[in-house]
């Protein structure tokens, strides 16, 4: 099995539903200190001169590369793993997913840097706010509250309006809309001092469901499946259509492919 995704840019309208579904499914926190925590995000680009202006959007996510430098660079925690045991926090699963085991993560952030993931940044700057840059991997800093929005006790109107801490307490979960899936190594909410990234919705796809971003797409622009199954839709598309991947020259061999054109205007 080799899971992968094709994103049809002709179908995509850049609406953002996939990114919201990802945040809802995986309980990712709000942006802070150059970390987006967006496992699904967008590259956005306008070019040309008025009125011959073109605008395009590319949904982006972890490429679940065949040759993932994030794993190579991951120091992991050999001590905690035990002698002779796999010790890297990032690893490939038999399904082809690049997964993360927070128990072995030391929060070093090496995987975010240039030699770690060519699609990530240690810290995102303002250019990420208009879709010029993004990160696949985000870091939860050491000794930092992982869901600060929901522990904030401040009320706009004391006694009259609520607070993050009060809503989550009343609802009874750490974040009120928490999607409480059950994890193995993975946890529905991350702790401090570990990185986090897209899992291809491991908890869903190993149980017969599609990743959240795939399921909700109103134009069905994302096709997910086993590239080694000749009958799968994804392998049919990869066979028939002209596709491309991001930063081929880095040799990472992504398993996220793009097909089609966002704009019909050349």
């Amino acid at each position: 099995m080799k899971l992968g995704m094709v994103i049809d840019l002709g179908r995509c309208v850049g609406c953002g539903a996939c990114a919201f579904a990802c945040k809802a499914e995986n309980n990712t926190r709000n942006r802070a200190d150059g970390q987006s925590y967006n496992w699904a995000d967008f590259l956005i680009h306008s070019e040309g001169t008025f009125p011959n202006t073109r605008h395009m959007v590319m949904p982006v996510l972890c490429n679940h590369c065949d040759e993932p430098p994030c794993i190579t660079i991951c120091p992991g925690n050999p001590e905690k793993a035990g002698k002779g045991k796999p010790y890297r926090a990032l690893f490939k699963t038999p399904e082809g997913i690049t997964l993360h085991n927070p128990e072995l993560c030391v929060g070093c952030g090496d995987c975010q840097r240039a030699r770690g993931c060519p699609y990530s940044h240690e810290k995102l700057g303002p250019s990420s706010l208009n879709g010029e840059t993004y990160s696949v991997i985000s870091l939860n800093p050491a000794e930092d509250e992982a869901q600060p929005f929901w522990v904030d006790k401040a009320s706009a109107i004391p006694g009259g309006t609520s607070s993050g801490a009060e809503v989550s307490a009343k609802v009874g979960t750490r974040i009120p809309a928490m999607n409480a899936w059950q994890g193995g190594e993975l946890q529905p909410i991350r702790s401090d001092d570990v990185i986090e990234k897209c899992t291809f919705c491991y908890h869903r796809v190993t149980n017969g469901l599609q990743p959240a971003c795939v399921e909700v797409c109103p134009s069905q622009a994302r096709i997910f499946g086993d590239q080694q199954d000749p009958n799968s839709k994804i392998s049919q598309i990869l066979k028939k259509e002209k596709t491309f991947r991001l930063k081929e020259e880095k040799g990472t061999k992504p398993n996220v492919y793009y097909v089609g054109k966002y704009s019909p205007r050349a």
Binding site: G10, G16, F20, P86, I157, T161, V167, V171, W181, Y202
Partner: protein
């Protein structure tokens, strides 16, 4: 990562050379053939993991005008995720990004959790109301006392009710009942600030005054005009679903002064100069007629088959025999004969060759061309005629009731009992008072709607006219143009009770605040709407535990208020509500929550009570099945419904010369003992004589001279706006960039780089935008998606209240970004009564802040 130029070329304009010859592609294909994964990484099996357990419960999104049937994933009494209702024939089981924001809105930390009372008598922007929490009973008692005082003084008409977002059926319990039984003619819907002017197009051509529906499955040429339905307006999920198919099989053309989502993905983008849409539509119509490209089956033909439509020449009316239409030759003679492509170019800025090309493309696809007109082509002074001009193209092409539909009518529902016997003499007298409305005044025909945005003007003129204001799910101080007028007027109203979810700008002027439920997740309702050929009724059923003490405004709060009024000697409202009985038990409600659910059971009973088989979906057996399914769709819209002389116009035909508008204007002129020419002149239109009754180009009205205010301001809507209510969500701010040209966690005004160079302004500069109405300060972005001479900014941000995210500092009333409505001038399309917000009617100047 940052994408290289090369990769963008691949994605946006993918050249054949790259596609065929790229080494990367070859490498990719080689890899695929290689079989099993071979890499340096020994796979490691992960420990098992399972998805969240819960259930999908039907509900209805009310984040835009479409009101999609949705499902919410409920885990242990909490809402966590959202999707389209799988049974929906309109959205295919998908919702647009708005739907996904419902859980975030439900659990917004800035929700009002309990009723509140103002303790600071001073009112104004930035003045702390010093709200303190009170009980529901105390709050309702205070409101009831104020209302009883009006009745006791014999002046119930001094109650004003302003409706914001509502339930289409349950609105009848408040908007449709309270003013009548209590006794005031002073009540308004928000509709006039929304999109009412666009409805003038179909109304005065086809006799249909509503939103239209479109058969996108069959549409081969889609013309999106003044609307971006990949983001807003109507049936967003269905449009997203079908758009790529139309691009692949036909043509997509977008007319929009800024580069919208649809414009980005269209074959043709026509960045019309704001307000000149009537000239562009006229030029397209001119080409269609002059080149003989109209649809003969719908429009008819010349008697001898020879096309006499020659530019600049009039045609004898009896030379043409029309079929389903009326007044084509009159339209040509009065307007179109001179609307050449050259004229279109001069006015609209769209090159004549593009006008001709687009007209031919539209004509090539004939009746499978859908001209989808939206508020951007109509919501401006004189906009009625642009709406008619754009919409009339559907008539020329024969698309009416082929791919452009009136929309299906819905399943049968129960209507609330008559309230007539509960209306006393005082109420009858009070209901005749319309002191806060200017609808029907000589200079405000208001043929479509009452101008709610004019209410503050009337209050400021007559400070004693309103003593008690009730308002629900509204925030006119943010959403109305000339926004500061609302601040001034509301400061003058002695008592205001606001029913709302968050402490909004308008709430800052309230004396009593009643927390509302977030109705998709916490309310009970039946919501009706239509799209994709089907009308439907869809449920809201409060499947989650409510976090705070919010109550649903149209049912629960009204029931409590009615009981309190009864206890204080005015029983009529409570007695009327008691006539609404549960369809199975025959009992009336004994508390407010029972009332909310009973009302839903009452309304929807014809769908599930088994008494009558309705056309449409398979019959539903009982209440439990209806709740589980959550919706019922009626029969599909019948094709060519109005053909054969069945349009609801004066002539029963599709009118290019609108006898229907003539009748309406004659009536209004007669009422004021004057001429139609006079009415149009005082209402700010330029047409005289018969031109007033045909779709035509009116020169755009502009507040502010080109010298003093050299830029034309373009307002548009975010695809993440749940009307004005989603800006307090971190997710909204994080993904604001999905609006083309926009920047996350910010609110930029977009200017063409050529203008930026002239003014010495660059991206990131703080700028002040000044109009005749006021000024706002925000960040500048230079962007090629706007025409030189125009600037564009999205509506939604600029909340100086609402909560911790929407406002940079709630306590100090500092906004994130700036509100367009503070610079947009208070003006109207006076024929419809709709508020102006498009069409370049506001000139601005931009200076470095």
């Amino acid at each position: 990562m940052r994408l290289t130029r090369r990769e963008f070329i691949r994605a946006s304009a993918a050249s054949a050379a790259w596609m065929l010859g790229g080494s990367a592609l070859a490498a990719a294909q080689a890899k695929r053939k290689a079989g099993p994964v071979k890499n340096a990484f020994v796979p490691r099996k992960a420990r098992p993991s399972t998805p969240a357990k819960g259930e999908w419960v039907a509900s209805t999104c009310q984040g835009c005008t479409q009101w999609c049937a949705i499902q919410m994933f409920v885990q242990g009494g909490r809402i966590t995720r959202v999707r389209g209702n799988e049974f929906s024939k309109s959205n295919h089981g998908y919702c647009c990004p708005r739907g996904h924001l419902i859980p975030q809105m439900t659990y917004d930390p800035d929700r009002i959790k309990v009723p509140m009372k103002r303790t600071n008598a001073a009112k104004g922007r930035g003045i702390d109301p010093k709200f303190v929490p009170i009980s529901w009973d105390e709050a309702i008692t205070i409101v009831a006392d104020k209302m009883i005082q009006l009745r006791t003084a014999g002046e119930p008409e001094k109650l004003l009710y302003l409706r914001g977002r509502y339930g289409p059926i349950t609105q009848d319990l408040l908007y449709g009942t309270l003013p009548k039984i209590f006794g005031t003619g002073n009540y308004f819907s928000h509709s006039a600030i929304c999109a009412e002017a666009e409805k003038m197009g179909p109304r005065f051509t086809q006799g249909y005054a509503g939103y239209r529906d479109y058969d996108l499955e069959k549409t081969n040429c889609l013309v999106l005009w003044g609307t971006d339905p990949l983001a807003s307006n109507r049936q967003v999920p269905n449009t997203i679903h079908r758009f790529h198919e139309i691009v692949a099989r036909g043509a997509v053309i977008t007319v929009d002064p800024r580069l919208s989502n649809a414009a980005a993905k269209s074959h043709e983008w026509l960045p019309v100069k704001p307000g000149t849409d009537g000239a562009l539509a006229g030029a397209i119509a001119h080409v269609i007629l002059a080149e003989g490209l109209w649809n003969r089956e719908f429009v008819g033909d010349f008697k001898d088959g020879k096309n006499l439509f020659v530019a600049g020449s009039t045609v004898a009316e009896d030379a043409f025999v029309e079929k389903e239409t009326s007044g084509l030759v009159k339209w040509w003679n009065l307007e179109l004969k001179d609307r050449t492509p050259a004229f279109g170019e001069k006015e609209s800025g769209i090159p004549a060759d593009q006008i001709v090309r687009v007209a031919r493309t539209m004509a090539k696809h004939g009746p499978t061309t859908a001209v989808w007109m939206g508020p951007g082509a109509a919501m401006w002074p004189r906009g009625t005629y642009a709406a008619m001009a754009v919409y009339a193209l559907n008539g020329l092409l024969g698309s009416i009731d082929v791919v452009v539909w009136e929309g299906a009518s819905g399943p049968k529902l129960n209507k609330f009992p008559s309230k007539d016997s509960f209306i006393d003499e005082l109420a009858k007298k009070g209901s005749k008072n319309h002191v806060t409305s200017n609808r029907g005044h000589k200079d405000m025909p208001g043929l479509q709607t009452s101008s709610v945005n004019n209410v503050p003007n009337e209050i400021l003129k007559n400070p004693g006219a309103v003593k008690v204001l009730l308002s629900t799910f509204s925030n006119f101080n943010h959403s109305g143009t000339g926004a500061d007028r609302w601040n001034q007027a509301l400061s003058k109203i002695p008592f205001f009770a606001h029913m709302v979810t968050n402490p909004s700008e308008m709430t800052q002027f309230a004396d009593i605040v009643l927390p509302s439920t977030h109705n998709s997740s916490e309310g009970w309702n039946i919501v009706t709407n239509m799209s994709n050929g089907y009308a439907y009724a869809s449920i809201q059923q409060n499947p989650i535990k409510r976090v705070f003490e919010g109550k649903q405004e149209e049912t629960e709060v009204m029931w409590l208020l009615a009981q309190k009024l009864k206890a204080k000697g005015f029983p009529n409202l409570a007695d009327y509500y008691d006539t609404i009985k549960d369809p199975e038990t025959g009992k009336s409600a004994s508390n407010e929550l029972e009332f909310a659910e009973l009302v839903v059971r009452f309304i929807s009973a014809p769908i599930w009570d088994g008494k009558e088989v309705q056309k449409g979906d398979a019959p539903i057996k009982g209440w439990a099945e209806f709740k589980a399914r959550g919706m019922f769709s009626g029969a599909r819209y019948p094709l060519k419904k109005g053909w054969g002389g069945k349009f609801k116009t004066e002539t029963k035909k599709f009118e290019f010369y609108s006898a229907t508008l003539k009748k309406a204007l004659d009536g209004h002129a007669k009422k004021h003992e004057t001429t139609v020419d006079d009415i149009l002149a005082v209402s700010g239109y330029t047409a005289k004589g018969d031109l007033a009754f045909v779709p035509h180009y009116e020169v755009p009205k502009r507040h502010g001279s080109m010298e003093e205010f050299p830029f034309t301001f373009i307002d548009y809507k975010s695809r993440l706006n749940r009307e004005g209510r989603s800006q307090n969500l971190p997710w909204y701010q994080e993904f604001k960039k999905v609006d083309p040209g926009d920047v996350s966690w910010g609110d930029v005004v977009k200017m063409n780089p050529a203008d930026g160079a002239k003014l010495g302004l660059k991206t990131g500069d703080k700028v002040t935008i000044t109009s005749q109405a006021g000024s706002i300060t925000t960040e500048l972005k230079l962007w090629e998606g706007v025409r030189p001479g125009t600037v564009a900014k999205c509506y939604g941000q600029g909340h100086w209240a609402y909560g911790r995210v929407a406002s940079r500092d709630y306590a100090k009333a500092v906004a994130l970004g700036a509100n367009n409505n503070e610079i947009l001038v208070d003006d109207y399309d006076r024929l419809s009564g709709a508020t102006a917000r498009n069409g370049g009617f506001t000139g601005v100047r931009i200076t470095k802040a």
